[in-house]
Structures are given as structure tokens and as C-alpha cells.
Symmetry: C2
């Protein structure tokens, strides 16, 4: 949490390949260790480590569950912070689809509940899209001054 750059702090969580793939699967509805493992083909010790990282980062929450006649296990559910990663993943997908296209076209698209196509963009406080040409990044007083 020490770096003043919020992008770097986000990539500390998301930047590692497996961690990011676990989030992708969680956003697709996966909650159980065995399902993460089967979908991602990841070694169990790596998966355990990445799930722990995401729980510690407040992206996933561990919940116990028990199937009849078996010992208690845990499910992993996205927290509110984890759910907000939908915006980050959508932005990455959208850029990749447009500027690094896959031969067969997009593998995942973003839709509203009533099936309208969506995209990620800048909006103002009234929920209206603002063109990219009108977007500025403004430094605040907290911006670090060069030594």
C-alpha cells in the first residue's frame, strides 16, 4: 500500500497471471476450489496461494459449506471490492478486442441484464458518457514531488 500510484497498487493484486485468472473465473460465477482447479488447470498449491492472496486483499471472501457426509469445505465469493473489478476487467477486454484482436473475434462480450451491448467509458456524476477527448487526468496535492 506504500506506492502513491493507484494503478501500481491495483496491479499488485491483479498483475500476477494466476491471481488475475482466478478473479476472471470468480466473476464468471466459480466459487469452489475444485471448479477453479478444473477450469484453470492450475496446480493446487498455486491455487491455494492465490486464493489466500485475494482473501487477504479483500477481493474474495471465504465461506464454509458442507456436503452431506463430507467434511466442511470453503467457497470463495467476491466481495463488493471484487465485484468492482468488473470495470477493470471489462476495460482490459474491450481494449484487447479492439486493438489486439483475436482471429476468431471476441470470446466474451459485455451485455446488460436485458441483453443490450455495453462498453466501458467515462461518465459524469449524472451518468452520462463523456467523450475520451474531454477526459483529463489531474494531479492533486497528494501527488509526490520529485526528490
Amino acid at each position: 500500500m506504500e506506492t502513491p500510484c493507484s494503478i501500481a497498487r491495483t496491479l499488485e493484486v491483479l498483475g500476477e497471471r494466476w491471481t488475475f485468472l482466478v478473479v476472471r473465473e470468480a466473476l464468471a460465477g466459480t466459487t469452489r476450489f475444485a471448479d477453479f482447479r478444473a477450469t484453470l488447470g492450475v496446480a493446487p498449491d498455486i491455487l491455494t496461494s492465490r486464493l489466500n492472496t485475494l482473501v487477504e486483499a479483500g477481493v474474495l471472501e471465504r465461506r464454509p459449506y458442507q456436503e452431506e457426509g463430507r467434511r466442511t469445505r470453503h467457497e470463495y465469493h467476491l466481495t463488493a471490492a471484487g465485484g468492482d473489478l468488473r470495470v477493470v476487467l471489462g476495460a482490459l477486454q474491450q481494449w484487447g478486442d479492439e486493438h489486439r484482436p483475436y482471429l476468431k473475434g471476441p470470446t466474451v462480450v459485455r451485455r446488460s441484464s436485458d441483453d443490450r451491448p455495453l462498453h466501458v467509458a467515462y461518465v459524469d456524476d449524472e451518468g452520462r458518457e463523456v467523450p475520451l477527448s474531454e477526459v483529463r487526468f489531474v494531479r492533486t496535492a497528494a501527488y509526490p514531488t520529485p526528490a
Copy 2:
């Protein structure tokens, strides 16, 4: 470009620390080698390599310029694809500021040309914000089937 995952293809470009920092500076208006070097404190050979990566990826464009009595040098300008990274960087910043906050508060905020606060969100084709709870990721026919 081989992986079907558009997020992975984007992180192939943006995932490396210095590459990403160069894009951040370019979005803030930096164009010259000496200025990238001074702001980032990066070794010249690493900076050369990252600028080349970004030119090859179509994010930056190299343009010659010449100052009186000096040899021709190059400036690096964002392409349209590079400018679109504003959405990706904004999404990463916003998540970091909200969920991995910096002690002193955000160092950079997003504003419209007429200084209204902006955020990154999902919008429909009519430019209206759609709540995250109504956003779905839908697999297309191009989605790879497990072997």
C-alpha cells in the same frame, strides 16, 4: 496475439512495470526520451526497449524532430489505440483509490474539460450509465472449448 483471452493480450502490452509507466507518462503529455527518462528515473537501455515495444504494439508513434544545430531526434506520440488506454488506466486508478487507498488520498483524479468529476463505468449504446449489478459477461461462439 495467440491467446483467445483479450485481457491476457492487453496485459502482454501493459503488464510489464516500465512499459505501463511509460504509457502513464505519455498520457500525461510526455513525448521526449529525455523527459521520460527524467520523470521515471529509468535506465536508458530499458527505456529504449520499452518505447520500441510500445511502437511495435501500435500504442506509440515515433516522429522525428530537430532542434536548431542538433541532430534529428524522435518524439513519441500516443496513437488512437494508445489514447484508448485512458479507459484502462482510469479503471485501474479508480479501483486502487477506492479499494487500496493511499494514506494521503488519490494522487490523480479524472475530470472533464470543464472540470466535472468523472468515473469509469459501463454504458449502453445511448451513452447512459448501467449499474454494475446489471452487467453480464457473455461467452461467444469463439470462446475456446476445453480439450
